[in-house]
């Protein structure tokens, strides 16, 4: 079914070393490679465009859905639309992720458009990892768009990770939260070489008591460029916090653009942004434990991006 390179990509983006348990849909080189549905989780191929609908029945708990995508052919460009319909009172883990291995000269590009409709009182953990490999000159390009619509008292935790090998990313995430809903975003990003990565978050806090926490930690090496934009819009009594913490190295360029937009006197919104090189005293401390400067740097970055 999947070849060795595809299996390796799969382990990078979804921590999968074989066929996952529960519901899954594996997409390889633009085609469905494997699928499994369960009594509570259905996966249906879209008829009008490329992509799938994932339907999770109300009350589904402790189940998981894996929908990894792997590209191992050079020159594939695709846009895929995946819609998640999550019923009320669910508690599920959704693991997406895209791995591109490009050994050729043509660019490989995957643009995933994910929409989440999260029912009342449901709890979702969504993990999305990006990975690029292969030594071809063709670029590895990923432009994920995520839209989240949260109903009352729902809880969404998103973990976005891109550590290696992706040449160009524009990540756009939009969310609308109803009363009592909470959204937590943790982004981990490392760019190197000539890579560029842009992350744009816009969270609309529409319902009373809704809250969000958007936290980005990133490391920019070599000549890479990162742009982080986080907008939190407080339309009612709500609380929002955005944090961008970046380590800049070599000739990299990092931009952090905070935007807080309060339309209600009880909207409590905070933004924190810090960009700086690795602290000298951190290097000195680890070197005094016997690490070389390079080893110390590796430990500091590894911890920071954990």
């Amino acid at each position: 079914m999947l070849d060795k390179i595809q299996m390796q990509l799969l382990s990078e983006v979804a921590d999968l070393h074989g066929v996952p348990e529960g519901a899954y849909n594996i997409r390889a080189n633009g085609e469905k490679a494997a699928r499994n549905t369960t009594a509570n989780i259905d996966i249906i191929t879209k008829e009008d465009k490329s992509g799938i609908d994932i339907k999770i029945k109300p009350g589904t708990k402790n189940e998981s859905v894996h929908i990894p995508v792997v590209l191992s052919k050079s020159g594939i460009k695709e846009t895929v639309y995946n819609d998640f319909y999550i019923g009320d009172d669910c508690d599920v883990i959704i693991v997406a992720g895209c791995g591109i291995d490009n050994c050729g000269t043509q660019d490989s590009q995957h643009d995933g458009v994910h929409r989440f409709f999260v029912g009342k009182n449901s709890k979702i953990k969504y993990v999305e990892k990006h990975y690029g490999g292969g030594d071809g000159t063709g670029k590895r390009i990923l432009n994920p768009v995520t839209e989240v619509y949260q109903e009352e008292n729902s809880y969404v935790e998103m973990e976005m990770v891109q550590i290696k090998g992706v040449d160009s990313t524009v990540r756009t995430t939009k969310a609308e939260l109803a009363a009592g809903a909470t959204m937590i975003v943790r982004e981990r990003l490392m760019t190197h070489g000539e890579q560029s990565a842009t992350s744009v978050y816009e969270v609309q806090l529409n319902g009373e008591g809704s809250s969000t926490d958007v936290i980005s930690r990133s490391v920019a090496k070599d000549n890479s460029e990162q742009i982080f934009e986080a907008a939190i819009i407080g339309n009612t009594k709500c609380s929002g916090h955005a944090e961008c913490d970046a380590i800049i190295m070599d000739n990299a360029h990092v931009v952090a653009v905070p935007k807080l937009d309060a339309k209600n006197v009880d909207a409590a919104l905070i933004h924190e942004a810090a960009i700086g090189k690795i602290a000298g005293d951190q290097l000195i401390k680890l070197m005094s434990l016997g690490l070389t400067e390079a080893e110390a740097e590796e430990q500091i970055i590894g911890g920071f991006l954990r």
Partner: protein, 244 residues
């Protein structure tokens, strides 16, 4: 044995060179418990950092077990067996206490049980701390103990502690001082502590008084301590007269 020969450390201040360490000579014998004391700004911490290689001396020579380490960097000195507990412990985002102890021991698979032993030695209830991040969520006293634990975990033949009492409250200090009173059982090598605390001075083999970048006095505790306490007593007496 550590030998500091004619050490000079200068910094630039208002376009002029200022000597923080001024032609200092000091020899520290193996297995000794040495306390360096003296007035603030006298050059104590600077001297400790020159031994670890954090500060590069302007001139002079440093010998460790007879080998010239003047040009060696921090990593090389650490590998030769010198350790350093910082006065102000460093914060790390994402690095946990167990990670730091594993790096300190050089044992990537150091067991949690063994790591906990080091924390217990500095008076921390180990289970509560082992998976905590070494960041500002820990109090000053907790960070200080963890810092000391990293040096104990290394167990090198020359350990430097830069003002272990600085920045912690009096109650934490009472229990921390026991760590140093028991340090003979923990560390077999030479211990060099920078301190102003009488209880630490009291457990020293030798006391070194540094003032204006020079060794003002160096000798057995029995000789030096009475003169220091005498000075303090004199100051107190003078102050009490002023108050009256």
């Amino acid at each position: 044995m550590l030998e500091l020969k004619d050490i000079v450390y200068q910094v630039e201040e208002n376009n002029a060179a200022k000597s923080i360490i001024d032609h200092l000579d000091l020899t520290i014998g193996d297995g000794k418990f040495i306390v360096i004391t003296g007035p603030n700004g006298g050059g104590k911490s600077t001297l400790a950092k020159t031994i670890m290689g954090i500060n590069h001396i302007t001139s002079g020579q440093i010998l460790f077990d007879g080998e010239d380490i003047t040009e060696k960097n921090i990593t090389e000195r650490a590998k030769m067996g010198i350790s350093f507990a910082f006065q102000q412990p460093v914060h790390f985002k994402g690095i946990k206490v167990i990670d730091l102890l594993r790096l300190a021991t050089g044992n990537k698979t150091l067991s949690v049980a063994k790591a906990c032993e080091y924390l217990s030695k500095v008076g921390l209830c180990a289970k509560d701390y082992i998976n905590r991040e070494v960041n500002s969520s820990l109090s000053g006293g907790e960070l200080k103990r963890i810092e000391i634990a990293t040096v104990l975990a290394r167990g090198t033949k020359f350990s430097i502690f830069d003002e272990p009492e600085a920045g912690i409250d009096i109650w934490s200090f009472q229990s921390l001082i026991q760590v140093f009173e028991n340090i003979r059982e923990t560390i077999n090598g030479t211990v060099l502590i920078i301190s102003h605390q009488e209880r630490i001075l009291n457990i020293a083999d030798e006391i070194v008084v540094i003032e204006n970048g020079k060794v003002k006095e160096h000798g057995p505790k029995g000789e030096i301590l009475p003169t220091l306490l005498g000075t303090a007593a004199a100051v107190n007496a003078a102050c009490s007269k002023l108050i009256k």
